[in-house]
């Protein structure tokens, strides 16, 4: 049951997928599991839906694990999903959000890559799709979105870690999310979680001009990183992707923003300066715990600023 699951340990894909079923079984009136597509290697793509009812509600989208080797993100996703159900009815903010909106949460965006990190190469980042004419496998699913696709910060070389793929949305893992969000029609926020650089970023990544909502997004990010830092003192930087790190074409948050999702953010979780992607499991709960108030800040802002 959810009470015996070890949130402080890393888990395989099967263990996490089993846990999704347990979470749904334990909270049938709050959580359901949607099957939104399948990966290149035909693994199911699951999304948790947190909803207290009502139809045509606005929604918030969360995702973790688009880059498979960033294990702290999937682990943070599991903890966070559990936190949402724990806090509904207890925490006034979570309760208010779910009384008006739905939350969709895809914890393992790239299941082929994640399974591969457990079986064959712990440091695998991309999908596992075969690239015609190349011995190199996989596409960077966060360079595959139709927003500045093919631009700076992505590669046309299938052997690169930032290979963008043959065309936008070529990866079923990406296309499934695109179809879901477009089909839903009322997703108001997308928060995509990565590791590790200790940043909270917003559009744009594919161009340097400020987004039309730059000022508001910046204010939200400022508050979120401040509340995050208040937990353990972890300092995040924040800003647009292009200004804060580098130009990166074809990312999910830019696609979301260009498709009308105003509150588009991407997290880079904590960096201890010692482990990179190999953050020890003892860091999972502290990382997830400090991330939670920042996530909540964004979600509350979305709730309080309907559009």
């Amino acid at each position: 049951s959810t009470s015996t699951f070890d949130f402080a340990s890393y888990h395989t894909l099967d263990e996490i997928y089993d846990w999704l079923n347990t979470l749904v079984a334990d909270h049938p009136n709050l959580v359901s599991k949607l099957h939104i597509g399948q990966s290149y290697e035909k693994r199911p793509l699951y999304v948790l839906k947190f909803s207290t009812g009502g139809s045509n509600r606005s929604a918030i989208w969360l995702d973790t694990g688009i880059h498979s080797r960033e294990w702290i993100t999937q682990a943070t996703g599991v903890w966070t999903a559990n936190k949402i159900v724990e806090e509904y009815g207890q925490d006034p903010s979570v309760t208010a959000i779910l009384d008006s909106m739905d939350i969709f949460f895809e914890i393992i965006v790239n299941p082929d890559g994640f399974a591969f990190t457990h079986s064959s190469n712990r440091l695998w980042r991309k999908t596992r799709s075969i690239n015609a004419g190349s011995p190199c496998v996989g596409v960077d699913p966060n360079r595959n979105w139709d927003a500045g696709f093919g631009g700076a910060g992505s590669s046309s070389n299938p052997c690169s870690e930032t290979y963008r793929g043959p065309y936008a949305h070529s990866e079923s893992e990406v296309k499934s999310i695109v179809d879901f969000i477009c089909g839903h029609g009322s997703v108001k926020s997308i928060i995509s979680i990565h590791s590790y650089s200790q940043m909270l970023l917003y559009p744009y990544g594919y161009k340097t001009v400020p987004a039309p909502n730059h000022q508001e997004l910046n204010e939200v990010a400022k508050k979120a990183v401040s509340d995050l830092a208040a937990v353990y003192g972890t300092k995040y930087t924040y800003g647009s992707i292009a200004d804060t790190i580098y130009m990166a074409g074809g990312t999910s948050v830019d696609w979301a923003y260009d498709n009308g999702v105003k509150y588009s953010f991407t997290f880079e979780l904590r960096d201890t300066g010692r482990y990179g992607f190999l953050l020890p499991s003892s860091q999972i709960i502290p990382t997830a715990t400090e991330t939670w108030p920042a996530l909540l800040d964004i979600m509350v802002h979305v709730l309080e600023h309907p559009y």
């Binding site: 010692r274 190999l278 499991s281």
Partner: protein
Amino acid sequence: EKLFVGDQVLRVTARDEEQIALLRVLGERTELQLDFWRHPARPGLPADLQVPFPCLQEVKTFLESNNISYSVMIEDVQELLDEEKKTMNKSRRTER
């Protein structure tokens, strides 16, 4: 299963745009099989670079000859992976 015995991850801090450009050129040398865990973005921001054991000397020489400062973030990637695997196995054996 891919092993990473002796691979190191270097934390590299470029001083200026010129050094960033040099790091990018280094990263494009496919024969070195380098993997930027964190890409060189702008001066002052650290970049993390996983270097396979056989290329360590060449990469460090390149950095030093171009006065690019670095430190070793992970001494041996495989040691950390072994530790991680041990922790996971231990956790699975623990009764809850």
